[in-house]
Each structure stands twice: as structure tokens, then as C-alpha cells.
Symmetry: D2
Subunit: 356 residues, 4 copies
């Protein structure tokens, strides 16, 4: 359904052109200081209109907490957050009331539900991810208490790739509008996105996420492996087509003798010499850095005419309208971080019941 997580559990609601979107966070432990400025700063990283390479739609994405926080701290009861929708140009969407946009969810929602809020994609709009970012911000606040640090960045746009995360200074991610910590590569990415935008087209990319200082022992066998939940969480983000962690798809070419991560003792702490495992072994965190890649397809909305059909099966042309992103990855960075935080916060709480 529209919930995610077991003990730290979120339920989101809202359509892109309804009165509001929002989220209930159930299971946030009591006593956590809720820093509203931090939540807003996370929403600001995701919000539209933040630079020339994102959609020019303007939404402030200011939020209101309706429950679960008292005198600045969580009370253990559900935290409800609402973000009102603004600047909705619903008229931009009347053309798709009866016609299915290619590679959007219009057709599948119509087939599944019969009754569909077509304005702006309704529930299938990436606007829903603002609710995730707000909830993820609270998960991050919880994780900070345990020293866990989550940093995502853009590692690829089209064919332009940044180097391996271990060669990058992740503190520089926010220094440029594409959110790639390698300045030279960032410039090329920005130029490519701009070129794609001018040609009224879109392009895909990769967000890489690195999680440091995860406690050993998070993740549950056998279905709820840490990386399996991370994978589901990432694949649930709009436009995601793939997920790999640690050595990923490249690792299949290695021999076991090259791929295995040998253990050693570093001053009393058990560590691995290499980290092809990506910080997860047998589905459970081993204390090394967790890292993974998330592939985003080119945005489906393009400013070009496309062939399609309408509800009655007649041929129809879909013309690009509205204000959209030429490339989704710069704004996806905080979403990836938010989903990662939600997964880890949940496993952190679940791990409390592992031993007598």
C-alpha cells in the first residue's frame, strides 16, 4: 500500500494537484529533538525551481507538523506532516484527461483503478517524494544520534561519469547545481543537461549513495536483507530502473579470489581489507561503508509531440506542456538519501530485539 517500514513506518498521501500532500511517521522513538529548520533545508534541496537545470515550477514546499511533537521533541505518537500544494496549473493537464502520455502511469492507473486524478499525474507524480524527504529528514535526525552519515551525489548523467566515491570529496556535493562532487565533471554534466533541455528532450543518470558509520548487525535474514530493502526503497522512487550495491554488475566479472573481502583486525575492530561487499554481508551490515548506485531513466515528459492513444483506443498526439525537469538526478539526490535513512532507521529499531 502507501506505507513503508516496519517499526519506523511512514504512510504518505496526496496528489500533485489536490489540496495537499503529506506523511504520517509512526514509530519514531520518543525524546528525539525535531529540528524543523533541518527538515525545511532537506525539502529545499528537493524542491522545484532551485536552478536553471531543474523545472521552473515554483513551489515553496513549506510544511506543517500537525502532531507527535511536543515542546520540540517527539512524543512517540504519530508525527503528521502536511505540505500544501501551490502554483498548480491544473489546466496544463486537461489535454491528458483522456490521452495516455507515453512511459507515464496514465494508462496503467486508468486500467487498474478506472477512476484517475489525471491532473499532473495525480498520485503517480514525483511530487509525492516531498513527503518522503520530510519523513527522511526525521529519520536522519534519529540516525545522527548513532553517528550514521548518509551522502548521495550525482555520479553519472548520460555517458558522463564521475570517479569512484572513494576518490571524491563528498562534502563538495552541494557546491554545484548538479550535485556532483567532482567540479570538472559537474560542469560537463550541467552543460549536457542544458543542451538536452534546449533540444526539448530529457536524459537519465545515476545517483550514488554512501552510508558511513552504520552499526554492525543491521538487516534481517532472509527476505529483509539490508541491501534488499535498500533496493526496494530506491526502486520505489519515480523513474528508477536499476539498483546495485558494492561491486554490483561489474563484480560478476571478477573471480571469487579477487572479489572476496578478507578480514583483519584494526585496533580491536574487525574490518575488511577491500569492500566489494559494499558494507553488507549476508544481508547484514558489517560496519564498512555501504554504497550503492541508483539508475534513473530520462524523464518521460518531453517538450515534443508523441504518438499515443486515448481512452477509447483512438490514435492521439501528446504534446509536451507544463514545466518539467530535463534530468531528474540533481533533485533525486535528497530523495535517495531520504529513502536510505528510512531503511536504516527502521533496521536500527528492529535490531533492538535481536538478542535476549
Amino acid at each position: 500500500m502507501n506505507s513503508y517500514g516496519n517499526l519506523f513506518r511512514i504512510s504518505t498521501f496526496g496528489e500533485s494537484h489536490g489540496p495537499a500532500i503529506g506523511v504520517i511517521i509512526d514509530g519514531c522513538p520518543a525524546g528525539l529533538a525535531i529540528d524543523e529548520h533541518f527538515i525545511q533545508s532537506e525539502l529545499d534541496r528537493r524542491k522545484p525551481g532551485q536552478s536553471k537545470i531543474t523545472t521552473q515550477r515554483k513551489e515553496d514546499d513549506t510544511f506543517k507538523i500537525l502532531s507527535g511533537v511536543f515542546e520540540g521533541k517527539s512524543t512517540g505518537t504519530p508525527i503528521a506532516i502536511v505540505i500544501e500544494n501551490q502554483d498548480q496549473r491544473s489546466k496544463d493537464y486537461s489535454h491528458i484527461q483522456n490521452t495516455f502520455r507515453p512511459s507515464h502511469a496514465d494508462y496503467t492507473y486508468e486500467a487498474k483503478y478506472g477512476n484517475r486524478d489525471y491532473r499532473g499525474g495525480g498520485r503517480s507524480s514525483a511530487r509525492e517524494t516531498a513527503a518522503r524527504v520530510a519523513a527522511g529528514a526525521i529519520a536522519k535526525l534519529l540516525l545522527k544520534q548513532f553517528g550514521v552519515d548518509i551522502s548521495a551525489f550525482v555520479s553519472q548523467v548520460g555517458e558522463i561519469k564521475a570517479g569512484h566515491y572513494t576518490q571524491l570529496d563528498l562534502t563538495k556535493t552541494e557546491d554545484n547545481i548538479v550535485r556532483c562532487p567532482d567540479p570538472a565533471t559537474a560542469e560537463k554534466m550541467i552543460a549536457l543537461i542544458d543542451e538536452v533541455r534546449l533540444s526539448r528532450d530529457t536524459i537519465g543518470g545515476v545517483v550514488t549513495c554512501v552510508i558511513k558509520n552504520t552499526p554492525v548487525g543491521l538487516g534481517e535474514p532472509v527476505f529483509d536483507k539490508l541491501h534488499a530493502e535498500l533496493g526496494k526503497a530506491m526502486l520505489s522512487i519515480n523513474a528508477v530502473k536499476g539498483f546495485e550495491y558494492g561491486s554490483g554488475f561489474e563484480g560478476i566479472k571478477l573471480r571469487g579470489s579477487q572479489h572476496n573481502d578478507e578480514f583483519y583486525n584494526e585496533g580491536g575492530k574487525i574490518r575488511t581489507k577491500t569492500n566489494h561487499s559494499g558494507g553488507v554481508q549476508g544481508g547484514i551490515s558489517n560496519g564498512e561503508n555501504i554504497y550503492f548506485n541508483v539508475a534513473f531513466k530520462p524523464v518521460a515528459t518531453i517538450m515534443q509531440d508523441q504518438q499515443s492513444v486515448d481512452k477509447d483506443g483512438n490514435e492521439a498526439t501528446v504534446s509536451g506542456k507544463g514545466r518539467h525537469d530535463p534530468c531528474v538526478v540533481p533533485r533525486a539526490v535528497p530523495i535517495v538519501e531520504a529513502m536510505a535513512a528510512l531503511v536504516l532507521a527502521d533496521f536500527l529499531l528492529r535490531a533492538k530485539a535481536n538478542k535476549v
Copy 2:
């Protein structure tokens, strides 16, 4: 925990060297004919010792149904299946009682639980997947009633790749021991695995899965997207490092205008001209073929000495022992199919409640 699925839900149990492993299937609709020969044939595709390129361990993997089936049909009550463990050479594992095998789950289980059944990896052993295959066989029987067809095959071993599934005759998958439907490529794969085996090493690969005739409308927004659950299901299989569907990681290089799948009307049925979407749009099946790739790392157990540490943090050498697979993908094919079947069966039942 150790359960998967919502309405068609399985719970597995068992360690590789305990008395038995098994599974409870809860939520299988009543009235389904349970073909025990089919279940056995699926288990046989996964079982060890089936060819020269798999482990030489011998296990019959015969199963017994303890409940939920009456006069050959499901009754709607839980179907419990038990597979007794045989040919356990627990002594093979005494050397890892106190030492952590590199890139196995030994260390993380020890850290998480304190109390660990070290014999053969215990619960973290891929032996657990036999229970999934048995349950998946029942899911397949249910799906057959709706015409759904699931076919997986080996599409890559090391650097050797087969072509795109649309160029292959998937009925030929079982014709060779590596389970690649392209005979020429299969030969090369077999040769490579044999070479790797002789060098006492292991290698990774990719299993591709194709699902035909899926009804339109399966999958749930927003977290339980069809491909997100498929991703989680696949990533929960031992040794999996990555998942991509449709255009996957390659798709990010395309422009939106190239990537979008235009709709057309084929004799009253709404279809797409291309299928970069991989049969899923907005997380919901659109009736086109669903296809995805699953990356498996090289098996961690190698017949070589490796450096590691023991429980007390002392340096230790792990020597390869036991009988293991040089490459896991040939035996992973039925596991991938089983997990895909479990995901689809669950969504099929969930979709029954979509509309008034």
C-alpha cells in the same frame, strides 16, 4: 523477518545442517490443483549435484506436504512443506566454528545474534532457497490459471554474454547444463566455469527473467511498485548484487525521446511500440513483457587459502573445504523464477481489491 508477501505469503525456516528446512504458504486460494510432480521437478532444477558445473553435494530434496492440501487441491489453509536435510557433512565446517569466512555471513551473524549455527552457514546458506522454490512452484500453478508465463535463463557468465532475450528461443533454456538458450554461448560459458572450477576459484553471472502475459494492473503505488517488489525479491537471493528492469542501467544514456514507449492500438488492445519500460509503468504492469536482470557475484567459498580473523580477533587462515558451486547462476535460474512467481501471485491477489 522470514516471511515474504502480503496475501500470498510465505514463511521459510531451517538451517543447512539442521534436521529439515521448509516453508509455510499462507493465503493460497482454495481450489487450486496442487501438482506434486511439478513441485518436485522445480526442486530438481535447483538441487545440487545435477551436473559437472555444479557442486557435487548430493541432496535429493524430496519434499512432504504436511497441511493445506486435501484430495489434491488447496483448501485455503496454510500449506506446510518440509524438506529433510541429507548428506550433511557437518564436520566439514568445524574449521569455521570460530573463524569468519571472507564475504560470507559468518561475522555479521555472530555480531548480530551472538549465538550462531555455523554448520554450512546455517540459516545464511543458499539451502534456504529450496523452500522458496517449492513455494514458488505453487505460485506458478496459480499463475498458470491466468496464463502468466515466467522464464529465466543465464544471460552472462563472467564477461561472456548472450544476446537480448527478444533474440533468443527461451524454450531451449533447459537444453544445456548452464541454462543459456543460446547454444554457442552456452558452450563458452560451460568452458569458462569449468576452467574457473579447475583453478579452485569461482565466477559471477547474470540471470535474466522474462514474464509474459501478465494482466494489466498488477503492482501497487507508491512503495510496493511491481518492479520494486521484484527488485527486493531478487536482491533477497543469496549472492545477488544488482537488479535492473527494462532499459536498466543502459537506459540512462538515452534521450527521453528515444526511451519513451509510444502507445498504439493493436486490434483493440492498447500496446507499446517499444518496451524500454520493461512491462511496468508507474509501478504497475501494462501487459507488455516484463524483463529484468539479476547480477550474482562470484561464490564466496573458494578452494584456496584466505586470510581472516577469528572470534577473538586473532589472524587466521580459512582453507576452502566442502563441495561448492564454481558459479551459482545455472542453479539460480529456478530460484529467480520462483521469487518472480511469488511476487506476481501476491500482486494478483492484491489487485482483486482495487475497484468497487
Copy 3:
């Protein structure tokens, strides 16, 4: 947590003196006409200040739908409903900031969470049930499509009892302020409540609920029996101390030969001659009327001084303040109906997956 139901699932949030309370309904099938007047009329039955025997607190309990409804019908996506809090006299509660009211949740919340919104009981306030009533109204709209009819009424206040439901005309329940369909008994009940109110005290009562036209086959073995879920749902309402269905506690005195409900064929429909089973056999509805009793204790807030302790364990006196109900059952009637509707709507959807 703060969610209830499996396929028709609600999640409530909100404290009595925060900005708002509300509910997300996830899993409501698409295409259901959402009658907002009906929702409001249900809320009005529960709202405070409706008669001289209820609290004189004034709250309009007007609601706003934020999502999930488009052009008057459900879309299959989450329906979020918010009810703003009004007329909050938070100052009435400063006296209990540090002192535990007897038989309230003050002490247990403090012990469990440490951080507690003490104003008006916060999350433990019965104000939360307004969210349930709003959600229950939507469940009722769904059930109406299947002909299911749910009617609750006050059957006991203190020692004053109405007759068995089969002797009453349940269409008369709303004819008086105590919601007892037997006018003579209703008068006595009202007089008793008024007397209790004047003595600055409170009193308990029983709400009986009757469900007609339930389809045969709702309820799931073995833990989610229909009456077990009804029991949990009722016991989750504030101040409830007991639940019995069918013959209930009295039935234990009967012999099996008296208690068993013999079957007969009524014009092709299988029915029972008696209905000690209360419409449920083996946890599954049999098509006969479902009926059950719910016991409510006397309201804990009384307008008298009581001995207690404060957070530091010092003796303290709690003086009755605020505006409270002398007897909760008249306003509990719509709450009982709402919870019953939520249980039935959920089982109705779950039953769709019972057979191939």
C-alpha cells in the same frame, strides 16, 4: 502502531490539543462515491456538546479531505482526512502537567515515552476517535454497496438495561439523546446520567451492536477470526472493559444441546433456527445477524478531588476540571459502529482472495 486493518487500512494521528487530528484510509477501492454529508453526519453523532448529558465542550468537528477523492469518487489512492482542533482550553490541563490523574493514561504514557503531551490527555484522549468515525463512515459507504447494515445502541447504563435487540425497533435509536431504542428505558437512563452528573460523578454502560446482511464467509482462520477482530476493534476504544458476542458470558451456563444452532433450509438459503452463535461460526460469518456487547467503564474524569502522586512520587491532589461526559455510551454509539464497519470492510476485501 497507530494503524488498523489489512486491506482497508486506517492510520490515525493527532493529539487533543495539537493543531489537528486526522486519518489516512489506505486501500479503499476506487470508484466509491464519497458522500461528504454522510461523513459529517456521522461526526456530528459523535461530537461533544450535542445534548445536556454529554460534555458541554464545543467542537464543530468539520473535516477536510486532502487526497484520494476526485470528482466525488475514490481513486484507490490514500484518502487523507483532517479535522482541526478548536475550543482548546489547554490551560485547563496545566494542573496535570506533573500529576497523574487516576485511571487515566498519564502515568503509563509518562513511563513508556518520557516525553508526554499532557494537554487533554494528548494522544490518549478519546478525541482520536473522531478520526475513526470519519474513516468508519467511508467503510459504511463501501458496505452499503453490499447491503450490510450496522446499528449500535445503548443497551445499559449503570444497572438500567434495555431488552434483547430482537425485541427492539433499532430505527428508533436516534430518537432520544441517550440512543436507546426503548423509549421508557431511555428516559430512565437519561435521568440516571443527569443525577450522576449533578453529583459530579460518572457512570458506565453497554453499547450493543447489530450487523445485518453480512455476506457468508467473512473472517479468517485462525487468529483473525471475525469476532476476534471485532473484539480487538472494540477493546481499542477508550474506556472499553469487555466484549462478548452472541450468547456471550451468559451462554456458558447453557448445555450444548441448548446452545447449538440447528441448520434449516429457508427457501434455498441455509439458515440457523437460533442464533447463539451471533452470526459467526469458526470465526467466519454465516449470514445470520452478528450482534455483540461492548462494556464501557465510568469515565475517569470526575469533578471531585482525588488522591494521586506527581512525577517525583510526592502525594498530590487531582481536582476535577474541564468539561467532560458523565457517561460515555451515548457518544460511543457511532464509534462502535465505525469500528465495526472498518472490520467488516477489511474482511470483505480480504475475502476476495479466498478461492481460485
Copy 4:
């Protein structure tokens, strides 16, 4: 479905005349010493044939642990327990293959599933509760680590009642075959059951359960209140018709000023002077004794002819056959305790995530 609990979760399977019944316990923390003698002793308290007032059916109910325990301790992985069925006289049931026994689940299962294992009631048989008792024994072992003590006893048979639990010595419960700790009342109960048995009839009763030393803070607002889950757990036991805790149905007659439990400080521990709350306030344990009553109807199987209908709606006579209990409460005592233990174990684990 057939699972119960959230973090300490059981899934049961099996029909009364299939090869076996059993249970998977998922979420038992690692490191718990599993005392198999204790598990057997609990099963022995429930097993048939233990005295003249129970069924004379003979089943040893010996169990086998298939997984999750290593060297005498839980490993944190699923504990699977199987109990083989013995002494099945399936022929005793051929008469009900097509005819519905009054007040049994025959008709409702047939209507719900179409395909029904009619032998001995199949899944609806109380035999399923043996699996609960085995799992409950493990929950008890966990609870003992926290000092929690659970004692149930028979407090009523027909109209014969024992006194309030506070007047009884609960260590004497096992001293007689009816399991009533008041010897004089026990004798009367035994005489009544024997009389009922000789008249080929059955009778109902009440089991009272007392839980001492529960930690403060167990139970979750708002739906998963401690007493609501206890209620559901009890109502899920075969033949249960009612549940009340603390003052229960009698409490409704009291005034709030009589019913409220005033707090006091007992040597630094916050306690209540009275305990009408039954150890639970606002759905959360307050450290006082938890106590509740569970009403069981007269067993539906009687050794007399009864009118009924068959599958085709024709009139039919059901004659009592087989070996059955004249009164279920003596054997229900360990079942009530087991379900209570499962609820508390689950809440104990859930409470670990309440605070930062």
C-alpha cells in the same frame, strides 16, 4: 491469516487429521535457553485423555524442533516445531463429509473455501491450539527472564463460580483435574462436568488469567492496546465468546469515584490502591496485576442427534460420534496462558523501540 504477533510472531499450520500440525516462531531473540522439557510439560497440560473429564482420545503430542535452536539456545532464526498427528480415526468423520454439524465451522468453511478437509474439523479443530501452546511455552521462557508470571485457572463451570483471584492460592491450580485452585469449588465443578458428560451433553465455563510482574509500559496506542491484543488473542481460541479485563462488565455499574484507582507511592514505586484497571491504563501496563476473564461456550459436539442440512440443502440428522470433551475449560487453561504469553512477549520486544 494464520500468523499472530509483530516482532515475536508465530505462524501455525496443520489440520486435525493431516500428517502433522506445527508452528514457526519468528523473532525469538537469540540466546534464549530452550528448555524442551518445559515445552513438553505445557503440551501435556493441553493434551487429550489426561483425565476422566476430558476427551478419551489419546495423543502424545510429542514435538520435534526442526530449526532455530543450536546447542540448546535460540539463534534468532525461525524456530519450527512439528507435532505429528496420531490416533486419527478419520472414519469417525465420514458422516459429516456432506452434512454441517450445528455450531461448528463446517458450513462457513464450505461457503468460504468450497474445498474443505472435513475430517475432524480440519483446520477449524481445536487441535491447532497445540501449536500455540508449544510456541507459548517459548514465549514463557522469554518472559521468565523478565520475571513475568502467567497463571490461568478455571473460575466458572456452568453456574458454579470460584471466588475472586485475589482470594485464591494460584499455586494450587494444577492440584485437581478441573484446574480450579479452590478445592471445594473444584469438586463441584468436576461433579457437574461428569453429570453433563453422562447426559451426553456439554457445558461452558470461564478461564481467568492473572499476569504478575509485568514491566510498566507494555502495550501500544491506539489500536494495539495491551488489553485489545489480549482480547483478540483470547477470542481467537476455539469456543471463546467473551473477554473482559479488570472490572469488566460488572464495572459499568460503578460510579467513577468508586472505580478510579488512586495512585500512591510504595517505597519509591508508583502503585494504585485498587486495581479496577486490571493492570492496564490507556492500553499500557502500569505494573499492577493484569487479570481477565475468558468465556467458553459449551462444546458444540454432543452425543445426541441434531437436525441439520447437507450440502444440497436437504434435511439431515447429525449423530454425535467420536471422542470429545464435555467441557473445554480444564484443557483451555494452558491455551489461555500460551496466548497471553505470546501477546506479552511481542509487546516486550516492541517496547524496546519506544524511546531514543
